[in-house]
Amino acid sequence: MSATAETTTGGNGHVGRALRRKEDPRLITGRASYVDDINLTGQLWAAWVRSPEAHAKIVSIDTSAAKARDGVIAVYTHEDLDMEAALPMAWVPPGVDVNTPDHWVLAKGEVKHVGDPVAFVVGDDRYAVVDAAEDVLVDYDPLPVVTDPEAALEEGSALVHEQFGTNKICEWSLGGGDLEAGFAEADVVIERRIVNHRIAGGAIEPRGVLAEWRADKLTVWSSTQVPHFLRLFLSMLLEISEDRVRVIAPEVGGAFGSKLNIYAEEIGCAWASRKLGRPVKWIETRSEGMMVTHHGRDQIDKVRVGAKRDGTMTAFHTTIIADCGAYQMLLTPMIPPLSAFVMCGVYKTPAVQTDIIDVMTNKFPTDAIRGAGRPEATHLIEVMMDQLAAELGMDPLEVRRKNFIPPFTEPHETPIGVAYDSGNYAAALDKLLTHVDPAQVRQEAEGLREKGIYRGIGFCTYTEICGNAPSRIVGPGGFGLQGGGWESATVRVHATGAVTLYTGTSPHGQGHETGFAQIVADRLGIDPQQVDVIHGDTQTGPFGLDTYGSRTLAVGGEAAARAAKKVADKAKAIVAHQLEADPNDIELSDGKWIVRGSPEKGMALGDVAGAAYVPENLPEGMEPGLDEQSFYDPDNFVFPFGAHACVVDVDAETGKIDIVRYVAVDDCGPPINPLLIDGQVHGGITHALGQALFERIHYDESGQLVTGSFVDYALPTAAELPSYETDRTVTPSPVNSLGVKGVGEAGTIAGSATVTNAVIDALRPLGVTFIDMPLTPLRVWEAINKAKGGSQ
């Protein structure tokens, strides 16, 4: 029996339908409750005193004026926080030394980046605590600053953390095949230095936390995507037994990885609440968010590709210098290595090697931002494919096709040891080309050129790794993550037949309340509206591993399907018993369990629940109740894939780029809800185009954050973006019974190379052959000027 048949019960066919999101009515009518909407009696407010220096010794801190201000109850500095442990970092790769500095809730002796917190004020007036934070006088003795990761690696560089004698965090490599032979065999070897700049998550709801210590129990509401992790670390850092800590992620207004962390403010507010015996709340301002909510990317990628004349790639070698910032947060040094896992791309290159150097600088830490490692890898691979095609004088799509891994439905082992689950890359590209015709675009380009408009087209064919994960691969003995990768679900059928699904994942805007309800509803013969999906509360459901890395559906959704199947199996046994039939002859048809072939008699879920909770007539030895749980640990990741195309117009006089079309074909297996997939693809592409054309976190040489607000950090709006065209191919994953793969990051992973290739294609007639992101008008204009000057 195939895995798919195992949990499919022949329900009412809700899976696959473009149902509108169940969560939307409350969101669009303002009925949702975010952290900032929750207020408790006796609540206090916190405000943070942050370093204006990028690197300095703290000579003294004078809190007297702040303490004297009306409305202020306490001001705390590092010494006040009697905490034994620093903020967590969860990656311990076997056999690799990782230089990890202590990252305290409040800076100890020195500040290491702009925004490093040195004190916090707690008081009963939201405004007074902000004024009081300005009253705290800190005397800093500036220390040398380093912001460039390559300079940071040089002998004699200023050191971010003196005790290591180096700014290097660690070196980590993943490779396979004979690289030397691959390059020796190549007719052509090209090299590029590709900068993947620093970006922010840009969630519209800033972070926020409300902590309440009451009757020896701690409840924390946080705008987080990892409530279960947060509970674990609150328990460890504050030394409170886990059963007495409850974390609730209420409505969360976007995260994109930036809320996949354990932040100083969360621990600080909880600590202060216990200290003062009153609830303590903090809501991040946007300025704080740009400064102290973790950033992403910030890699310098040196890439070398070897190929035969006919386009066949023989070797692919990447050295990544990753600027990790001043401290390591939950997964900081582990993000660049995630690039290595997909460095083979969709190609059968026999030798692939990735060497990573993680580096410290005086900037805020990087960590997971949408895609986390895979956008960096895909960007450099796919930009290199076009660079290689140009070098060989071949069509970029021809080079791709030459190197595609042929279609496969069972795992395909790449030379680096990663086994792709299923794929059909040529089919995705073929589908894409039914929507966009490169020849036609080139013809249009001819007509536009006399107006000074240069039209170009770019492509990307990608795969990525998600569905974290098989615990044996990612865990302590494998990749070194200090945790598992399973997910949990409980399906609770109430006495009337209403259903609550508790998931250990913690979605924050993706629409899983709808998608998960569809999965459960089909297995129980009910309407998705009858399934309430509860997430993000550590007290209501089983322990879970939260939401990130496009894992929620492929792991958490499968857990939900399995828990629902357990319920369905018990229901069948009850129905069989009551209808005096063999359980194997019971099937779900039109909302009722019937004896196959006798649709006139049957029991709906409500009837079964009644029988289970009023147990007068259950099979011998069966326990009452209808409430089942699943803990699912997959045996492989899942690997979505697809092909994207973008058409751009570049105004050669000003350098301004206009995105004319963006077409995406993505394959994430059988769709649970096509509308949710489109939503994720649209948002994902927007993040990619945002990074490629608009967004950039920029520090100057003294470590000051230049892009500290949405004025300078240019998140794109609807006015800058085209209406995306989406389509899909469907290649089921053999890994889970739903056949699904994640899609939350796919657009982000594929998009930046797509548009970058389009811009380079547009500018080739002007002599521009390469350009780094972000493709701002200034940068494009300078590239055109440089090409005119004849130098590259």
């Binding site: 939201r126 004024d131 946007r286 006089e653 230049v706 701002t776 008008p777």
Partner: protein
């Protein structure tokens, strides 16, 4: 995003406004639409101790044509002016200010009194040689656009004074264009160009005005371009536009180097002049 403490009054007459400003001294500020001042306060870059809100003052909203010129009340919102074809560059520029939410609240008087060289309306006022009425305890005075903008965020509106009215000439006979170069639609201009062209019966350029947004510490007239084009045919636009950046010394920033801004000024001047001449 919490401003320092301040007091707030919303008087119902101009006399009360002026007396509140007098009592408040140097640290009192007039509040019009609030879309420049309030963000600065929230970022703690401005810390007035008193805000005197003009919202209850009668008669400060609306545009009227009178004696060959337009009189626009200082509290007229951008939304009231945006896209109005009779208002030439005023209608064109107000349609491009930030986003609709800002245009619903922001006022012409507030924008001009704030004197941000990256704002659009100061450039328009300079290009069309308009003027403003400034009212203080000693009475009212009329200040020409050229004298209003003194330096970065510094205007002739003194503390204790209120900009109450804006005057711009009738635009009949003029073609105009506002070219605003931004990364995002809602951004401040990297460079903006107002062009106004009045053509003679023979199609030549009888008169011409060109002014820049964000090319210096105040709005700047491109006099070299104007002189090169005045009295010439429209086929002289490209050559005249080449002189657009002459004498400018724009500040660089993350999005634009001074060289790039000067280049944009030339390109946008040509495009704006072509559009204005065609209109």
């Amino acid at each position: 995003m919490i401003p320092p403490e301040f007091d707030y009054v919303a008087p119902e007459s101009l006399d009360e406004v002026l007396s509140a400003l007098r009592d408040g001294g140097e640290d009192a500020k007039v509040l019009a639409g609030g879309h420049s001042l309030l963000p600065l306060m929230k970022l703690r870059l401005a810390a007035p101790t008193l805000l005197v809100d003009l919202r209850k003052l009668p008669g400060l909203r609306g545009a009227q044509r009178e004696n060959g010129q337009w009189k626009i009340g200082a509290m007229t919102r951008h939304v009231d002016l945006q896209g109005n074809p009779d208002l030439g560059p005023v209608g064109q520029a107000t349609a491009l200010i930030a986003d609709q939410q800002v245009r619903n609240r922001g006022t012409i008087g507030g924008s001009l009194a704030h004197g941000d060289p990256a704002s659009d309306l100061p450039t328009v006022l300079v290009a069309c040689e308009g003027s403003v009425t400034i009212t203080g305890s000693d009475g009212t005075r009329e200040v020409a656009a050229g004298d209003l903008f003194q330096d970065y965020l510094t205007t002739a509106v003194g503390s204790g004074e209120v900009l109450t009215e804006v005057r711009v000439p009738d635009f009949a006979g003029w073609g105009s264009s506002y070219k605003k170069f931004t990364r995002r639609a809602e951004d401040w201009a990297m460079v903006g160009v107002v062009a106004m062209v009045k053509k003679a019966g023979d199609g030549s350029v009888e008169d011409v005005r060109v002014a820049f947004t964000n090319m210096g510490s105040t709005p700047i007239r491109a006099t070299a371009t104007e002189e090169a084009l005045r009295g010439k045919g429209v086929d002289g636009i490209a050559a005249a536009a080449e002189q657009a950046a002459e004498g400018t010394d724009p500040p660089g920033d993350l999005n634009a180097t001074p060289d790039y801004k000067r280049h944009l000024a030339r390109v946008l001047t040509r495009r704006a002049l072509e559009e204005a001449a065609a209109g």
